[in-house]
Symmetry: C2
Subunit: 604 residues, 2 copies
């Protein structure tokens, strides 16, 4: 006979009067009036088990069980006594009167209560197996599964085929650092773990598979941030014979379907915004549209003001001056205080800003006298009027300014925008609207100029196609080239991105030229792609979504580590298994490598 | 407007009279009576396109296209003229009268015809993108996808949850060699790529996820054979609270469903055979039941025969003497010739046999005179009668013998059994029955004695549970312990295998004791598992299937390389991307390693 007839969490009044067999873990044991109550837990939830002393053998077992014992319970489903119904549980209307209690495995005392919500990250990752027993983590990983399964169903229905690409592949030191794998068979040679299956998926299009996908691990050996892991999971997609808009439409449909079918959220319309507009209005290519604040461009009117910070920024190469109007920010009693402005001033310095100029708009009818500001006396009328008009300033507003190189302004005022919007003040004053705000950002520039290296780099990657006609500018005026790239953004997070790819070898060569990649280099690194493009490569494009990020957003978790079963720490370590670890000298010898620091070799 | 209205291969008479838009590759172009015929190919098949000279612009384009050009065709679907219908194609009743022909991308002349079936492995792997355009490879990979999707559907319906486990994990030098990944952050430390997610899936059971699966890459740095790749794909499964038979039943159901739904094959019943019977009858733990030949044990009667090869084998430690009766093998004119016997004698030497004794059963009524054999004079009557009786020998049979250490006998005569069964003679004489012969092999011994290392090793892996009661023998009599392990075998291939696992820390410790793994070693290598088992680990078990093998079997391909998009060669190289490759000195320095052979460092 099967050990289990039902999951604990799914026993309901539909089973009233039935004898059930349950398996699970003792979440809590309470003695109450001579009766023992066990909250039994499995992945589907909790059920209350009642152990009556009139069954002496069973009761003796019940007296011995402790938290986290794994037990089997056979018993009768009955209604809970009036007044003890728990509406928070699916099983809250019933309880199981225990007939037989079998300890499947005892447990030593756990280092923490499973329902403790105040555990440190280190404790959680060290005792990950117990941490994973918590309903929070169970739910996160179950949701992650449902998301990936919904993705598969959608793609299957649309003719996409999951094709596996190699994990042991070739190192192409572009962009991020590769994880390397020494070859035993080929002395001095290394495989690299893939940063993405980009080239392989393009090759599959050239091979005629038409529609490809894969939910696969990618690897980047970068210094870790809160939303990064050495290995992360990508929903990787490529299609032939679809244009930019068709691709966007299809995958907007996919994400919409997935949100609907997993967490019941209707994402609604996805506005499409150009990269230029996004930078212009939000200083970011992944604006959080839940924050109801926008930049106002005032660079053009600041060139000749006396305030040197503004005029300097307005006239320098790549300089920018913007205003950020905060409605109600100067309303007496309810606005942003002087102390808060000081704190924001410190905050923007993190992003390289040297200060934070502002104007309090107290009373527009009083002209300059109605404005309170340390800088306004050094701004001439034309500029001041432009600021007030363009921002649409009203009495009671606070206007912040950013003036510096555009990158600093965008980063600093972009971050300030979010900070103000998400502040207590912002939430109270309608500057933040909770919900889901998806969007597309499109028309990325093909190239960015790397000031340090004094050369152009690819904004997306070097296989991104230019807009029709723009290929002619690639060498003569790279900064003018717009690509067929697109990013899907949700609440300020980049969920995914991609592009139409170059399918002609001659256009690909032009990109390499613009990037100053020599034909020899190109042949060495990407020769197999260039070769493939010669044999009737089809028009194709695609995108990749970050599965970890999507699920993190859905759950509202603070870190992607909360949606990964066995994540690494920010120091790229697994606290559970203690990986990475030292290895035997013999292993290194077989791989033809040795440590630079010979002291670290493990004793045999 | 969409570039494509239909896949080429799926246009049928349902579209008669419709204007369609197709995208694909020129498979062949034929000029016939002033008209150009193009066989257009996409992943779904072929369609015939007819280009009439009366549309001059289009015709000029058609004259220019060559094989493997990627083109778009707009045209009218019409019935093929009588007598030109091609029943081998889905689109064989129709053709598309071309109105507009657009070259999407030209192609240089491919190094081979796409439909050439006589390409070398090297050519195919070097030009893999073109090789993948062949319908054979397209079909193989599409089938592979359908198999994995059917697996997912089955597991989803049965409550299994796909949970990802780490690719960067800990080296545990047991069994096969690990692929290592040097850590940049931790000097002298290495990650290992997983040989299987075995420990993680057990941890997920301890964490209460109840039913886990993953279709995931595993890695073994072993010398390659025809059916091995450095990275291979495992359908990895684990469940809690199910016993050995329940697990087998469930996954027999899964494989049966998958075969039915993908290639329409009904696998029928799966006989369950003990490991002991399999070795006894077939000398193999993965017998190919399509071959209708069995071993006959005669060790017991050979101890005192004059023929030293037999008596020696019968009396040595771990020796074995078996007979293999080949019905009809001595029938005049249609049997196995002397030359063939000589060839088989050479064949068994590959497996370590020193020779191949045999008896031709010409006429049983004549007693010894009716037997033709170089050895029979040195076999006494008791032994000879036992051979004839136990094999059920009939006139016209040929009986082969194996006598040596059991391992050599099993390997050599096991291989001979297949060789004879699959020979022309075997097929003609009913010794081979084509079809699908699945089975379970169960009751594996817990341990095997490694003569070389003079210690016991785990037959499956050290986490396999012993049969109930057998745990007491683990230290006193390890050879008697039978495990709860099981393998699924199909036509002589191991498709998958697994076991009920040990869920109690004390039992796990006994296994480590039997394997002479010290507590310190065990703690260092598997401490996290031993630790987890202490916290109420549930009874659990599972198995893993080799996806590459399943699909190879289904397609009848000669190598698993034919069901993998981008495989490695037997020298563990990717001929397409030239991985592995040399890397920059800077990369090695960051990883704190250097090459032993300094000459191989790549110039900066």
């Amino acid at each position: 006979m099967a050990m289990r007839s039902h999951y604990c969490g799914l026993v309901t009044d539909a089973q009233l009067g039935e004898t059930v067999s349950l398996c699970g873990w003792v979440n809590r044991r309470r003695d109450h009036g001579g009766v023992i109550f066990i909250d039994l837990r499995d992945r589907e939830g909790y059920v209350q088990v009642v152990c009556d002393p009139d069954r002496a053998d069973m009761f003796a077992v019940a007296e011995g069980v402790r938290n986290e014992y794994c037990v089997q319970v056979k018993g009768l489903v009955r209604a809970r006594p009036a007044g003890t119904v728990n509406d928070n549980l699916k099983s809250g209307k019933i309880e199981v009167l225990c007939h037989e209690l079998i300890v499947l495995n005892a447990s030593v005392t756990p280092p923490f209560q499973i329902d403790d919500e105040n555990l440190s990250e280190t404790t959680r990752l060290t005792h990950r197996v117990l941490d994973l027993r918590r309903p929070y983590m169970q739910n996160n990983l179950m949701l992650r599964y449902r998301v990936s399964m919904e993705v598969r169903k959608f793609l299957d229905a649309n003719g996409f085929v999951d094709i596996e690409t190699p994990m042991l592949t070739k190192s192409t030191p572009e962009g991020a650092r590769d994880y390397l794998v020494p070859s035993r068979v080929h002395d001095g040679h290394f495989f690299a773990l893939p940063q993405s299956p980009q080239l392989f998926k393009q090759l599959l299009m050239v091979a005629g598979f038409d529609r490809y996908y894969q939910i696969t691990k990618c690897f980047r050996d970068e210094d870790l941030r809160a939303d990064r892991q050495p290995e992360f999971t990508q929903i990787d997609i490529e299609t032939s014979f679809l244009g930019e808009e068709e691709i966007r439409d299809m995958f907007q449909g996919m994400i919409t379907t997935v949100f609907k079918n997993t967490i019941g959220v209707d994402l609604g319309e996805f506005p499409v915004m150009t990269y230029q507009d996004a930078m212009h209005l939000y200083g970011s290519d992944k604006p959080d549209l839940r924050v109801n604040l926008q930049f106002t461009e005032v660079t053009d009117v600041m060139a000749d003001v006396d305030f040197k910070v503004f005029s300097g920024a307005a006239t320098m190469k790549n300089g920018r001056v913007v205003a950020l109007r905060v409605p109600g920010g100067s309303v007496e009693g309810g606005g942003i205080s002087r102390g808060e402005i000081d704190a924001y001033t410190e905050f923007v310095k993190i992003y390289g800003a040297k200060g934070l100029a502002y104007i309090r708009v107290n009373d527009l009818s009083k002209g300059r006298d109605g404005l309170q500001s340390p800088i306004v006396k050094n701004i001439h009328d034309t500029a001041l009027n432009a600021v007030l008009e363009r921002t649409g300033a009203q009495n009671g507003d606070l206007i912040f300014f950013g003036a510096d190189k555009a990158k600093i302004v965008n980063d600093a005022i972009g971050a300030l925008r979010l900070k103000v919007g998400l502040s207590e003040f912002g939430k109270k004053n309608g500057l933040f609207t909770a919900g889901w705000r998806p969007m597309w950002v499109v028309d990325f520039p093909m190239f960015e100029f790397d000031e340090e290296a004094q050369r152009y780099t690819a904004t997306h990657h070097p296989f991104t196609a230019p807009k029709d006609g723009h290929e002619d500018w690639m060498v003569s005026a790279p900064e003018k080239c717009i690509s067929k790239g697109y990013d899907m953004v949700l609440n300020g997070w980049e969920m995914g991105g991609g592009s139409v790819r170059i399918h002609r070898a001659d256009v690909q060569q032009k990109v390499f030229d613009a990037l100053k990649i020599t034909p020899e280099e190109a042949q060495l690194k990407f020769g197999f792609l260039l070769d493939a493009l010669q044999y009737g490569a089809p028009p194709h494009g695609g995108l990749a979504f970050g599965l970890d990020r999507i699920v993190t957003l859905m759950t509202g978790a603070e870190s992607i580590r909360d949606v990964i079963a066995f994540p690494k720490t920010q120091r790229a370590q697994c606290l559970l298994t203690q990986a990475p670890s030292m290895v035997d000298e013999k292993q290194l010898r077989e791989l033809h490598i040795k440590l630079r620091n010979a002291d670290l070799v493990k004793a045999a």
